[in-house]
């Protein structure tokens, strides 16, 4: 297997960004095709294609669409472009290089689920993505792909871009819905699920940028055509954001089931500065870390990574070489989750702060040996106890870091300095207790 150019086929063309270039390279063909189909047909094709959510949870997209109530009630399609997961930058490239690809996928999806209005919730920092999307939507309206009676099919669809304000939690679907409604971006209690009661208490489907863009290709190639790449249960190709200590970091599209080893060594060009691989976080900062041995065996698909005790997540592969201190890496993560916890559920609000304080007290040389055990215990009790998955996301890396690299933590507690670097922590001198 090697790298593929399926979604990213024309990404190298600057003209692909505009509607003319897009149409020249096969754009908006599938829209016409889809509008002639029955909505249920499209849902069935998507179901058969085995497309799974590319945002992190990997929930089968067709099944999600099937949860919508079968009535004429007003419903919404939301595109989750609040790409907040540390290490992920694939959606940004898709929105900047091929905004029409997303828009076309969204119109098709909107037609399939019967939604007349959709929103793209873009992360506030993605200035260029927002501009490119806004321009593309303008073009699509002018060309008659959006608005009333699209391509004479009688289907109306409106699209808008909503700019987030930079909260990680708004990447969670119900948190995003709250934010879109003008409320504080806090996840909502489930049930009711968004497919039943979401944006403005109407049935709502929330999908990732890459998922929606892939819909266009499923229509083009059919379910079987889409299954050309990938494995039985993880169909299709996926974009991976490779970062960390590799020679060639960047976005790579590979079929699911691609070996992680090749991703690092072949596509990534090996570890930077000739260092040795120590650990890999395979699916964004929320995914449990893999050691070098585990990473060598892993393949990039939902099942294999789940079997390895981690997850595919958003496809952000963070490579860590052996010159990095794992305690410091964890401190970076706990600080992030402490900062981003919305503060609604107690275990997450207090737990993320607590583990952050513990890790920083270890870093400052004041750690106690029982703190290491305590970290795992606290994380264990944050896991699965909250409304959304943020506390799981915060807890899983902690558990995996501490259990897999326990010797480094113990060394830091006993000696007050890093085992790898041999020096005390000199990181940015923020106090864990300071209010932000």
């Amino acid at each position: 297997m090697s790298e593929v150019k399926y979604l990213t086929e024309f990404y190298h063309l600057p003209e692909f960004k505009g509607i003319e270039g897009y149409k020249k390279n096969g754009g908006y063909v599938e829209l016409g095709k889809a509008l002639k189909m029955q909505p249920q047909e499209i849902i069935d094709v998507v179901k058969a294609s085995g497309l799974r959510g590319r945002g992190g949870a990997g929930f089968p997209t067709g099944m999600k669409w099937g949860f919508l109530p079968k009535n004429g009630e007003e419903r919404y399609l939301l595109c989750n472009a609040d790409e907040g997961e540390p290490g992920t930058f694939k959606d940004r490239m898709m929105m900047e290089r091929a905004p029409h690809q997303l828009i076309e996928g969204m119109i098709i999806s909107g037609f399939a689920i019967g939604s007349k209005k959709s929103y793209i919730y873009v992360r506030g920092e993605y200035d260029e993505s927002i501009n490119s999307l806004l321009a593309a939507i303008q073009e699509a309206y002018k060309a008659g792909y959006l608005g009333k009676n699209i391509l004479g099919s009688g289907f109306d669809h409106d699209m808008d871009v909503y700019r987030g304000a930079g909260a990680y939690i708004c990447g969670e679907e119900t948190g995003m819905i709250s934010s879109l409604e003008g409320l504080k971006g806090q996840p909502k209690l489930k049930p009711p699920f968004p497919a039943v009661q979401g944006y403005l208490k109407k049935p709502t489907i929330v999908n990732n940028v890459e998922t929606l863009a892939a819909v266009k290709y499923i229509i083009r190639d059919g379910a079987e055509g889409y299954r050309k790449y990938g494995t039985e249960k993880s169909a299709g190709s996926k974009l991976f954001s490779l970062s960390g200590n590799v020679n060639k970091p960047g976005n790579y599209e590979v079929p699911l089931g691609y070996p992680l080893k090749d991703m690092i060594n072949v596509l990534g060009g090996g570890i930077k500065n000739g260092k040795k691989l120590k650990a890999v976080i395979p699916g964004g900062s929320s995914a449990p870390v893999l050691t070098a041995e585990e990473a060598m065996k892993a393949t990039l698909d939902y099942e294999n990574l789940a079997a390895a005790g981690t997850m595919l997540g958003s496809g952000a592969i963070i490579v860590i070489d052996d010159s990095k201190c794992m305690v410091e890496c964890l401190a970076n993560l706990t600080h992030f989750y402490h900062h981003e916890s919305c503060g609604q559920c107690t275990p997450c609000r207090e737990g993320t702060g607590w583990v952050d304080k513990i890790v920083h007290s270890i870093l400052s040389g004041k750690g106690r040996l029982q703190d290491i055990e305590l970290l795992v215990k606290v994380a264990d009790n944050m896991k699965g106890r909250t409304i959304c998955a943020l506390s799981d996301a915060a807890a899983l890396p902690i558990i995996s870091f501490v259990t897999k690299f326990r010797d480094e933590f113990e060394y830091f507690v006993k000696e007050g300095k890093s085992k790898v670097k041999g020096t005390a922590y000199k990181g940015h001198a923020y106090a864990a207790t300071a209010s932000h």
């Binding site: 504080k184 900062h339 503060g343 275990p347 993320t352 702060g353 703190d371």
Partner: protein, 536 residues
């Protein structure tokens, strides 16, 4: 009515039948099973944020929250397994790690949700060695409420209250994560007529009432249920008191009348009950000199003497809707039967605004028993109008004054008006200094008597509220022991004797054939101070 289908479920091994749509926590509450919780409140929407009401459902590997899980047919729930206990313990620990240890100066201590749940489900040593989160203390939220953010556990009950019940939306949670705080928007303080309910529903000492703050420790107070006499809604309330007087009023749940709430006005009703605002001694004016040290009973007897033989149009009675049905019946029948007069007038301060209603609880009629008074009048066939009363024509005027004086806006003017009678007998629970100082009274050989009465907390009786619901309540406590109830005063005015109720020796705590120093365990339990606080 169509019978709703009942759903079978098993909670902690007890087979139950509940209505469709009932959540697990409601089912557990209805069957008085214990479950830890903070954010859930039966009168508010579900937030599901405290994550304390974890239960184990058979067939589900993950623990679920009981407040947002609807009971389904055949569901088997338990919250006594080790897994659930551990989850509750950790849930509490997360609540407590940043909670300051200022229980000694916290007003909530003694009725605090955290303390209770800790004793019930927690009991462990904290493993947190790091510093606690610092937040704002003693934040002035508005005219009635003070906030201590450090104590707050962000259950969002108060926020939901202002959003859902009072619909004033003053409160919100600001900031994120563990520096989130409750607060008000700039220029919009927590100032509504129901603001103090947020203090009641606050499970910790984060919100405290400015009125009650630091006045008493709650374990020095006892409580007794009664009916609020602030307006014609007739909210069920709990009055908290000790030997020094009454200290606060809190609502008691009654879904038919007031739900879980009461208004801020109603919370002030304890104030006129306390001694400093009360008429303690009987007063008598004779020959231009006030005798201010008369016993209440003696004053009533003197008044009865001055009314001896008076009948018909020489005498009139003025009553307000602030007294119980039993009392009004006693005084009106005394006038109808003993004094053979139907000159009984209804002094109604808020007749014009009586039909006003704010949509939640507050009503324009500031008397708790106007309906009851009208029923008594109807029974005796009295159809007088207050405007027809002319005190200068009736020689003997008996007035049963209101106890909640602040709601009688024209009180002083009315007193002047009554003072025109040549013999005024004024019965009141409230202090009426203006009457004693009234110079109109002291001239022309007029006589006047003031008889101290008991307030609504000092007697049992019945109020009939605006909707005609009659609510009987019990005596709460005694504040002014020598004051008379209106029933007693009516009997004395009728020339009868009243007896002090004494306990029959046989009914005394010690039976006659037992050793005098033997006290049964039962009584000891009763005698022990048991602080009854409502469910969270």
């Amino acid at each position: 009515m169509q019978q709703q289908p009942l759903i079978n479920c098993t909670i902690n091994g007890v087979a139950l039948q509940v209505k469709a749509g009932t959540t697990i926590i409601e089912a557990m509450y209805e069957n008085s099973q214990k479950i830890a919780h903070y954010c859930w409140h039966p009168g508010l929407s579900i937030a599901g944020v405290c994550r304390l009401c974890m239960v184990e459902i058979e067939g589900n590997p993950r623990l679920q929250i009981a407040c947002n899980t609807v009971v389904t047919e055949g569901m088997k729930v338990n919250n006594t397994s080790e897994k659930v206990k551990d989850a509750a313990k950790w849930g509490l620990d997360f609540h407590l790690i940043n909670h300051p240890l200022d229980c000694p100066i916290c007003d909530q201590a003694g009725e605090c949700g955290l303390q209770e749940q800790y004793m019930e489900f927690g009991k462990y040593n904290s493993e947190m060695a790091e510093k606690k989160q610092k937040k704002h203390k003693v934040v002035d939220l508005g005219p009635t409420v003070v906030l201590d953010s450090e104590r707050c556990i962000l259950c969002s009950r108060c926020v939901r209250f202002t959003d859902e019940v009072s619909k004033t939306h003053e409160l919100g949670i600001f900031n994120r994560g563990d520096h989130a705080e409750i607060g008000t928007h700039a220029g919009k303080p927590l100032d509504n007529k129901y603001s103090l309910n947020t203090v009641d529903i606050c499970p910790v000492g984060a919100l405290t009432s400015k009125d009650f703050r630091f006045r008493q420790r709650v374990w020095f107070l006892k409580d007794q249920e009664t009916v609020c006499n602030g307006c014609s809604t007739g909210c069920n309330v709990k009055v908290y008191f000790n030997k020094e007087g009454v200290f606060r009023v809190k609502p008691k749940r009654n879904d038919a009348i007031n739900g879980h709430w009461m208004c801020d006005e109603g919370r002030d009703i304890y104030k006129f009950v306390n001694k400093e605002h009360r008429m303690i001694k009987g007063h008598k004016l004779a020959n231009g000199v006030w005798n201010t040290e008369l016993h209440a009973g003696a004053a009533a007897k003197d008044a009865a003497l001055s009314l001896q033989g008076v009948t018909g149009n020489d005498i009139a009675l003025v009553v307000t809707g602030q007294h119980t049905v039993e009392e009004l019946e006693a005084i009106v029948s005394t006038f109808v039967n003993t004094y053979k007069t139907k000159n009984v007038y209804h002094w109604w301060n808020s007749e014009a605004t009586a039909s006003e209603f704010d949509g939640i609880l507050l009503r324009g009629d500031k008397n708790p028993n106007t309906k009851g008074l009208q029923q008594v009048f109807a029974k005796h066939g009295i159809t007088t109008k207050f405007s027809d009363l002319d005190p200068s024509k009736v020689k003997h005027l008996v007035v049963v004054g209101p106890e909640n004086v602040p709601v009688y806006k024209d009180f002083t003017a009315k007193l002047e008006f009554f003072a025109k009678a040549s013999n005024l007998i004024y019965m009141t629970a409230a202090k009426v200094d203006s009457l004693v100082a009234n110079k109109n009274l002291a001239v022309g050989g007029k006589t006047a008597t003031i008889i101290p009465l008991k307030t609504f907390v000092e007697k049992a009786g019945t109020f009939v509220n605006h909707a005609g619901v009659s609510q009987t309540f019990k005596k709460v406590t005694t504040v002014v022991s020598e004051a008379l109830t209106l029933v007693e005063a009516a009997a004395l005015l009728a020339g009868q004797e009243i007896k002090v109720e004494t306990l029959n020796p046989k009914n005394l705590l010690v039976a006659a054939n037992e050793r005098a120093d033997k006290v049964t365990l039962d009584f000891r339990k009763k005698n022990e101070f048991i602080f009854q606080r409502g469910k969270l």
